[in-house]
């Protein structure tokens, strides 16, 4: 594929702007020496360029995306229609409140609905992504302890199965991270937890079901242990699709949570973003919430800022158009649709697991929730075929590979999350692909190292990319 700079030719352009209808103004300021080398291209060529790029991208519209921990569920098209309404897109964030009652209503209704689903009392929609929401929640914990004059709480406990953003967020919030080992069930080891908890515990970060897809039955005990030590409990909402409508983090002992609207609530991934990571909390943490929250009085909405707010996580009110999409989804599925989604997500995962466990060792031998983890450690040891090899072989079969090498506590892990929006035939087809890959691996392990073979590019030299980084186009040619 050509880079757009390689398609560029001097003098090509679109005719976008009329001549200036006011006098020109020569600005008294230092100018750049040369014009930026942006592409010079016709609209026709521009259209073809991005069409070609799109052909080398895989959207949800192209096929099954069983990525564990990503919840790649269908992105409803009505959400896109709502997010494109002029009333939402053409409004300046600094217009008077009376002029933006619609936007304030979106924020308030989304907040209230998400609070009910999660058992939280209040929420900020300002964080732009899950990790951003985690950082927010940890800052709430920090503000809370500091307000109590408790400066010795310097540690956040994180299970070794946690997503990398958890310890990274804790470090950004100025905390030391204490890792607690999971037991052979993949769940938190209560004794090990008790051993690391103390007066220096600011809190615990956890997700339930956990990152290996298992519901930790001891959750009330876990959150109790932390509370008794004076710490707070943070819920990573990435796995909410497994339990929403059946269980609420607020009822499991969690004080503060984040959600991923681009996972659980159907907003699109955009090739890496924009997402939205609302941070919810119980009443006692609400005084510290960042950004603006919306209150309603006699049908009139207005902004308010928490009295001891930690400030702002980003400018303005959050990724607003993403929130519009999420609200549209919430209105569509409603009170019956939320638990219907989670129970079918769990069903689809258990169905696939049941059809694969005779040949792919499951990391844990129990009913899974919305995702399950296979371990190819045995295959690696016996025939030198790794999780990576299997994942790449699936590419040739038109299936986006599952999540690889996560969580870290399972060796040669492949984590599968089908979500509730896939029909039985899609699951059966994927199961066949996994099974035939296994047969191929057994028959010809060597060939597996060359996978994928049908894709537009083959395995890429990542070592070279890291040793000699080339991170932009070189125009000197």
């Amino acid at each position: 594929m050509q880079l757009i700079f390689e398609r560029s030719k001097k003098g090509r352009k679109l005719s976008l702007f009329p001549a200036c209808d006011v006098p020109a103004f020569e600005l008294d300021a230092p100018k750049r020496a040369d014009a930026p080398k942006l592409p010079e291209i016709s609209e026709n060529e521009l259209d073809r360029h991005y069409t070609e790029l799109a052909k080398h991208a895989q959207g949800l519209n192209d096929g099954f995306y069983p990525l564990g921990s990503c919840t790649m569920k269908h992105n409803p098209k009505i959400n896109e229609q709502a997010a494109a309404l002029d009333g939402f897109t053409q409004v300046h964030p600094l217009q008077a409140e009376a002029e933006v009652q619609g936007s304030l209503e979106v924020i308030k209704r989304a907040t209230d609905t998400l609070c009910e689903i999660t058992g939280m009392d209040n929420m900020t929609l300002q964080p732009a992504a899950g990790a951003h929401g985690e950082f927010t929640g940890l800052l709430l914990i920090k503000a809370y302890h500091e307000a109590r004059g408790d400066k010795k709480r310097t540690k956040i406990i994180v299970p070794d199965s946690a997503h990398g953003t958890n310890p990274a967020s804790a470090a950004m919030a100025g905390y030391d991270v204490v890792s607690v080992e999971s037991n052979e069930d993949g769940c938190v080891d209560l004794d090990k937890l008790r051993a690391v908890v103390g007066e220096d515990t600011a809190g615990l970060m956890l997700t339930n079901p956990n990152t290996v897809g298992i519901f930790d039955k001891n959750i009330l005990e876990i959150t109790n242990i932390i509370h008794e030590a004076g710490g707070l409990c943070y819920y990573d909402g990435a796995n909410l699709n497994a339990v929403m409508g059946y269980v609420r983090p607020g009822d499991m002992g969690f004080d503060v949570i984040h959600l991923n609207l681009h996972k659980t609530f159907s907003t699109p991934h955009g090739g890496g973003g924009p997402g939205s990571g609302p941070c919810g909390c119980k009443e006692f943490l609400a005084p510290y919430l960042p950004g603006m929250t919306v209150v309603e009085n006699n049908g009139v909405y207005s902004f308010t800022k928490a009295e001891h707010s930690i400030g702002d996580m980003k400018a303005f009110y959050g990724n607003f158009l993403v929130i519009v999409r999420a609200l549209t989804y919430l209105l569509t599925v409603g009170k019956e649709g939320i638990p219907a989604a989670s129970r079918n997500a769990v069903l689809n995962a258990n169905y696939m697991k049941a059809k694969l466990e005779d040949i792919y060792p499951m990391a844990y031998d129990t009913t899974c929730m919305h995702e399950f983890v296979m371990s190819l450690e045995g295959m690696k040891h016996d025939i030198d075929v790794s999780a990576l090899d299997v994942a790449k072989a699936l590419l040739d079969r038109g299936i986006h590979p599952p999540t690889m090498y996560f969580p870290l506590i399972v060796h040669e892990a492949l984590m599968v999350e089908p979500t509730e929006t896939e029909c039985k035939e899609t699951l059966d087809h994927a199961i066949d692909a996994f099974r035939s890959t296994y047969e191929d691996a057994k028959a010809n392990p060597e060939r597996m190292h060359m996978m994928p073979m049908e894709t537009p590019v083959k395995r890429l030299d990542e070592v070279r990319a890291a040793r000699t980084p080339v991170v932009k186009f070189s125009f000197e040619d």
């Binding site: 090498y405 990542e462 070592v463 890291a466 040793r467």
Partner: protein
């Protein structure tokens, strides 16, 4: 696999060489570079930094992982190998030539293995 006789080794797979002038040179062993795979970057401390026995003084990066490099001694860094920053592949190609840091004023040493003992230790790890 290489285990030069004149060096001492830690159980965390670093080697240390007594330069005979009060300074010591530290790097990672052949076993370590083989286990880590293709290395793409090394993060080193600065001259004048203190290093502490059995604690990380830097790390090495492969494409998909980062591994701490631990110090076999408590000492002061007197020189870092800048060439390593430009050519991390040299750690894979020549682990005993691609040194990381030189230290002086050693105040504490962990229990180190000689080449023979280290080779035996590696055999159990494999």
């Amino acid at each position: 696999m290489n285990f030069p006789a004149e060096l001492k080794y830690s159980k965390s797979h670093e080697w240390i060489k007594d330069n005979g002038d009060g300074t010591f040179t530290i790097g990672i062993s052949d076993f370590a570079q083989d286990a880590l795979g293709d290395l793409v970057f090394a993060n080193l401390p600065e001259e004048g930094d203190a290093v502490t026995v059995e604690e990380a003084f830097g790390d090495v990066e492969s494409v998909k992982a980062v591994s701490d490099v631990l110090s076999p001694v408590t000492a002061e860094v007197v020189e870092i190998n800048e060439e390593l920053l430009d050519a991390p592949e040299s750690i894979n190609e020549d682990p005993y030539g691609a040194w990381f840091i030189k230290v002086a004023n050693v105040t504490e040493t962990e229990e180190l293995l000689d080449a023979e003992a280290y080779e035996a230790f590696c055999a159990t790890e494999a």
